[in-house]
Amino acid sequence: MKEITWYFPSTLEEVPELLEKEGVFIHGGGTALLRSNLARVEGLIDLKALPLNYCRDREGVIEIGTSCTYRQVIEVLQKIDSNNILIRALSVAASTPLRNRITLGGSIAFFPVWSDLMGPLMVLEAEVTLIGSNKGSFPLVEYLKKREIRNRSLITGISFKKRELNSYYFRQSRTRFDYSAFSISILVKKSASPSGPGPASASMTSSGSPSASTIEEPAIVIVGCRNKFSRLSSLEDSLKNRSPADLQLKDIAGSLEVEFAAKKNYSPDYLKHLAAVELERALKAVLRS
């Protein structure tokens, strides 16, 4: 068996030099590493001793250290941002013992197609903070799209603004523990329509249905499609400043322009049909709740 050199840095300053070494990878929880090929690993930088295990609200910005496990994130967010979409998404990811081990940083760097983390982080418009050859903060999507940013860099943390938004998370899987075939993440803000009823009667219309409101800041992401992830920008644009009651959700979801590759037990057409049905349900739930 090939020998792997382990590095245990205790300060962040030691890390950039280690990242320059050939064949060196990061070790957080190790679950992603063990799913890839250890044969190409010459060395591992263990993050255990680094101060990257935090989850906090700093002046309205949620900051999560790269070494935080799913379980830690769920437990802390329940206290500081209890409506956060990440709580719902991470609670259904993997299993209890794996959630005790999988770290946020590892999940971002590895980004498996079945990820329950990435969709929520994308709708939250998260940023990743890096050290190494590309020091600084980058939008998550830019980090994912540009290989040159990722090379010889360590994600030290993830951050996003804390906002009061309606959220919805759905994962398609045949059984609870199965990898998801795709997931849908939605964030949306609904506000009272300026042309709707006045403030005194804003909660209900005379017919007893929910009051007129308009959709603001919609963010919709599907993960698991042919391009790995897709932000549904044209759908978001078509929802902006509209009243949920005026929308023909079936038509909107039916015109879904996302393609899927064949997966075990799913054909591309079937996945597309499923995604359209679930998107319609998701929009109903989040917009008309």
Partner: protein, 154 residues
């Protein structure tokens, strides 16, 4: 590589390979109560407590567990003085072939430590990383409920 591991309360200096899994290290050093099942983190047969949290030892590289506390099912109770959960598993008939039992008991222990009064849904969630091919799970859930009852009666 040589490292110190605190296994079931005892500090042990162990020699291991740099790419060994915690599961391999434990089994090679006599802790065969930790079972090797799927090797992918799906079945929970290899569950141990690492620093108090249940983890799949097949998903942990041994080098990352140096100087940490590891508890296997044998660290919870002895044959003459079994842990309340171990006793409940026997009394409820939750053990058939027994292969999943060490992992199930570790998962139940971790659950009850975190949440001493789980409802049925929470019990199922706590055991969601453990597979059993014999019992159909009913008896296992009964066993956790029985352990709760026994614990309250103490």
């Amino acid at each position: 590589m040589i490292g110190n591991f605190i296994i079931n309360g005892e500090k042990k200096e162990i020699s291991y390979h740099s790419s060994d899994l915690l599961l391999t290290l434990l089994r090679d050093n006599g802790f065969t109560e930790v079972k090797e099942g799927c090797g992918q983190g799906d079945c929970g047969a290899c569950l141990v407590l690492l620093a108090g949290k249940a983890v799949n030892s097949c998903q942990v590289l041994a080098a990352s567990a140096v100087d940490m506390e590891i508890t296997t099912v044998k660290g919870l109770g002895t044959i003459h003085e079994p842990h309340i959960i171990q006793r409940a598993f026997v009394e409820a008939g939750a053990v058939q072939c027994g292969f999943c039992t060490p992992g199930m008991i570790i998962a139940a222990y971790a659950l009850l430590k975190k949440n001493p009064t789980p409802n049925e849904k929470e019990i199922k969630e706590g055991l969601d990383g453990n597979l059993c091919r014999c019992t159909g799970y009913e008896k296992i859930i009964d066993a956790v409920k029985l352990a709760l009852k026994k614990d309250r009666a103490r």
